[in-house]
Symmetry: C2
Subunit: 219 residues, 2 copies
């Protein structure tokens, strides 16, 4: 009984995701779906990125949370457009929520749209939101075994941000082990070690955004 | 269409949870369901607890993970009984999985059964596993806003463990703010600040387990 229902939900989501994708592709907007556990630093990464690349790109954010508009207010304070989706307890965003959120955004001239998913390493992975790529985040405080234990995200993500490297001296995190697990799951994954707190490593992430944006515009 | 199906799933789960609860209550076994994000330290807390209280209590662990038996091997190395449930991608444990796992455990003389749920701050909260109490864990590296942003768990948990306090000097975590959010959601929640790494604060957690176990036996 249960499996056909879940399948229908996923199928319906994929149809709507294709619709979102066409709409954004027609405008050449690079769309990235950020997925991680709560507290890995998605909002912090967006705050830094929106500030540091403000002159280069016009960017907007769709914020997904169970409740509160804290994160939308945090990213809006950088001057970027932000729209909050409250899932009211729901454990992930879906393409229909993103489609609705697009109505609240001015898409004219937009270069990059970030979708910050609900903090959850499991459920958001299966729901295509119409993005060009998923970006996985992992804080080094969470442990180097997480790619092995939660493989689907790392399997599907185009990039992996290993955040909070400023904490490396104080935690047991084997960077080589985490990278090896992730690369075994996904040979093509681009991995960035960075700290949103001290700024180290952000430039490589910004270069990746520039590269992805140029590729999108050339497509 | 979707809501009735979810309701049926939850109802079926609750019936089975009541069955599990009766079975464990008949033996006076204190059963605790540990819920947190990936990497908050559930397995580390169990490793410490199983070692430090080994002479006092007979304890067992049901380990829930999407994949791998890493965590069951970690807790089994303390000498405690452990059984691994792999959900094969499923985002939470349910009472039927716990019932099945009980078949693999020797319940004779057992004092405390820990259920380590899948790392996820959202979905496991709604699925009663037949436990006496839910225990929420939050690492200080995850941020003090998490009780406000993921309220259901903190609303329902009997205890909150604020783990990795050894990292407090290196992160922006306002302990008073986190405690205030949690207490506003749940006046009766018992809060423990501790570090599984340096051992500080563990004694208060152990006292809570002693108290809960005695209350269970007296019931």
């Amino acid at each position: 009984m249960e499996i056909p229902v879940v399948r229908n939900v996923l199928e319906a989501n994929e149809k709507m995701a294709a619709h979102v994708r066409r709409q954004l592709a027609g405008r050449g907007i690079l769309t990235l779906n950020l997925i991680s556990s709560p507290g890995a630093g998605k909002t912090s990464l967006l705050e830094r990125t929106l500030k540091d690349l403000a002159r280069e790109f016009k960017m907007a954010v769709i914020e997904g949370d169970l409740q509160t508009d804290n994160d939308a207010r945090r990213v809006a304070s950088t001057g970027a457009q932000a729209v909050q989706i409250n899932t009211d307890g729901g454990c992930h965003l879906d393409s229909n929520m993103v489609l609705t959120a697009l109505d609240s955004l001015d898409l004219d001239g937009l270069d990059i749209l970030f979708i910050e998913n609900v903090g959850n390493l499991v459920c958001p992975v299966e729901f295509d939101c119409g993005e060009d790529a998923k970006v996985a985040l992992l804080s080094v405080a969470e442990g180097d075994d997480k790619p092995e234990k939660y493989p689907l995200l790392f399997n599907l993500a185009r990039a992996l941000v290993l955040n909070k490297t400023d904490l490396l001296p104080y935690v047991d995190f084997d960077m080589a082990r985490a990278r090896a697990f992730a690369s075994r799951l996904n040979r093509d994954i681009d991995i960035f070690e960075l700290s949103c707190r001290n700024g180290q490593g952000l430039e490589a992430w910004y270069d990746w955004l520039r590269h992805m944006h140029a590729a999108k515009r050339a497509a």
